[in-house]
Symmetry: C2
Subunit: 197 residues, 2 copies
Amino acid sequence: MPATLEYCFDFISPYTYLAATQVEDLAKRTGAKLVYRPVFLGGIFKETGNQAPMNIPKKAAYLPGDVQAWAGHYGVPLTFPASFPFNTVRAMRGALVAEREGKLPAYTKAGFKSAWVDGKDLGDLEVLAEVATSAGLDREKFLAAIEEPGIKEALKERTAEAVERGAFGLPTFFVGGEMFWGNDRLVLVEELLKKSK
Amino acid sequence: MPATLEYCFDFISPYTYLAATQVEDLAKRTGAKLVYRPVFLGGIFKETGNQAPMNIPKKAAYLPGDVQAWAGHYGVPLTFPASFPFNTVRAMRGALVAEREGKLPAYTKAGFKSAWVDGKDLGDLEVLAEVATSAGLDREKFLAAIEEPGIKEALKERTAEAVERGAFGLPTFFVGGEMFWGNDRLVLVEELLKKSK
């Protein structure tokens, strides 16, 4: 049985975008099954007492150059959205709608591209609807579904579940019982997956 | 002129120990001049509002496994000291004494080995005196010097200077005007040094 690589994400996080550019190839190289896990980073911070990097002024000053350095390292584009920190609660509910419709990987990639390559505001419903349609979802059904009480509740549950499993930030990866935090831990994730191959 | 790699450290930090196991070889590979910069991490956290990882319970739970995974990745030994978080203020003042005596690299390596390989308590003056003598310092002169007002003041000044340059945690590296935070940024440090070689 192939190992499973769970990738917990929220579109708000540039480091999680950076990881998004790598996880698919990493899963292919290691023969792992990649599973996208939508969660809400604001909820994770609230539940764990962890701080968003942007709340520490010196960290906030360091972050943009650091994420560009990683983008250069990977050779991927990165545009810091003018609207950062945009509100991703609807975009992440949308990920659960996409999951229900079997379109989660396409939606995830389209969402990260919209925010972190095109620099668009995912908190804007027009932008979000474009992401959904580009992933093969029906625009009107999607916009209705992200307001469903069951979808709202599901995002809270998924977030709480990630925290219960140990998450305190993003990106978070799970490989079996092992948790890894940070784009910078992909090297360790890959080593573990290669060992268990 | 060779590039300079400044490595800011405090013995308290396991990630800074992990980086200590790598910086010398990295400097050799890239032809950079390695400069050890003693600072006091407690002071950095106080001045920047950043939190020690151990203050966030979920992060504290993750940290020991994460540092062991990095030790495995590098193939270096790591023993989590029973006395963690031990008090390093005298050990870091001692680093400035060692610097004055031209023994800073040897003292730094001996201090990290004592704490993170042998698992000893660097807050214990006996342990610290052993570190100093193994680095070629005179025991009695060293124990007197770490209580000098000028040395106490110097550690505060060095710490404030690092914060002024952008530091908010450790390890912090400076390569010219560029700052890097974290053992996990050594890959970016190496890329930059190779470019400027």
